[in-house]
Amino acid sequence: MRRVSILTGEIDPASLINEVSSPQYGAISLFVGTVREVNEGRSVSAIEYSAYKSMATAELQRILDEAEGRFEVSALVVEHRIGLLGLGDVSIAIVAAHPHRAPALDCTRYVIEEIKKRVPIWKKEHYTDGTREWVDPTRAAQPSGA
C-alpha cells in the first residue's frame, strides 16, 4: 500500500492509520503537521498553501520510492492539504508501517525532511495584523516547524 495525495479537503490521520494497518506490522509511525499560531515571532492567523500539483505528486512518488529502498517500508501514505488552512488544521500527514519500529520511525522522518527540500508546495502566511507573506526557508534560518 503506497499512496500520495494533494487535496483540498480535511486530512483525517486516523483513516491513514487504518489504511496501512495490518497484522504483519508491529509498528505504525504517524507524522502530522499542523498550522502553528506563531512563526518567527509573528502572530499567524492562517496559512494559504499552493502547489505545482503534477510535479508535487511526481516528487512525492520519487520520495516514497527512495524511502521504500532505504527502509524497506512498503506501507506508506502521504497526504498534503492545499488551500486556506486555519490554526491547528492538519497540513500534512505521513504514515509508515513496518514489522519493527525503527524503520517506521526513520521512514516518516526521511519523508518529511525530503518534502521540505524538494516538493513544490508553497505557503503564504496570513498574519493577525492583516499582512501576508510567502514563506522562504532559504532566506534565513527558521525554526524547523511543520
Binding site: S54, E59, S91, I112, P120, I121, W122, D136, P137
Partner: protein, 81 residues
C-alpha cells in the same frame, strides 16, 4: 519560431504578474539560456540569482537542453509540510 511556456508559481508568479510566460525557443537553448531571457522580463529583476527550474516535472540542471514540447516551470523556494 518555436516557443515554450514557462509556468510560474507563488512568489515568482506575483513578481512577474502572471501564472506563465511564453518565450521564443531557438535550437540548443538550455535552462541557463532560458533563465537569462526570463530575467529581461518586467518584474524579473527581483528573482534570485539561480532559481530552480523544473523540466517535465523534475528539477533540471542548468545545461539541460529545452525542447518545444517540454513542460517548464520556475520553482520558488519550497515550503511544504
Amino acid at each position: 519560431m518555436a516557443t515554450v511556456t514557462v509556468q510560474l508559481f507563488a512568489s515568482y508568479a506575483e513578481l512577474l504578474g502572471a501564472p506563465a510566460v511564453e518565450l521564443p525557443l531557438t535550437p540548443g537553448t538550455t535552462v541557463k539560456d532560458l533563465l537569462y531571457r526570463i530575467r529581461a522580463l518586467p518584474g524579473a529583476s527581483s528573482l534570485p540569482s539561480a532559481p530552480r527550474v523544473a523540466v517535465n516535472r523534475s528539477f533540471a540542471a542548468s545545461d539541460q537542453l529545452i525542447e518545444p514540447s517540454d513542460e517548464i516551470a520556475l520553482i520558488p523556494p519550497v515550503a511544504g509540510g
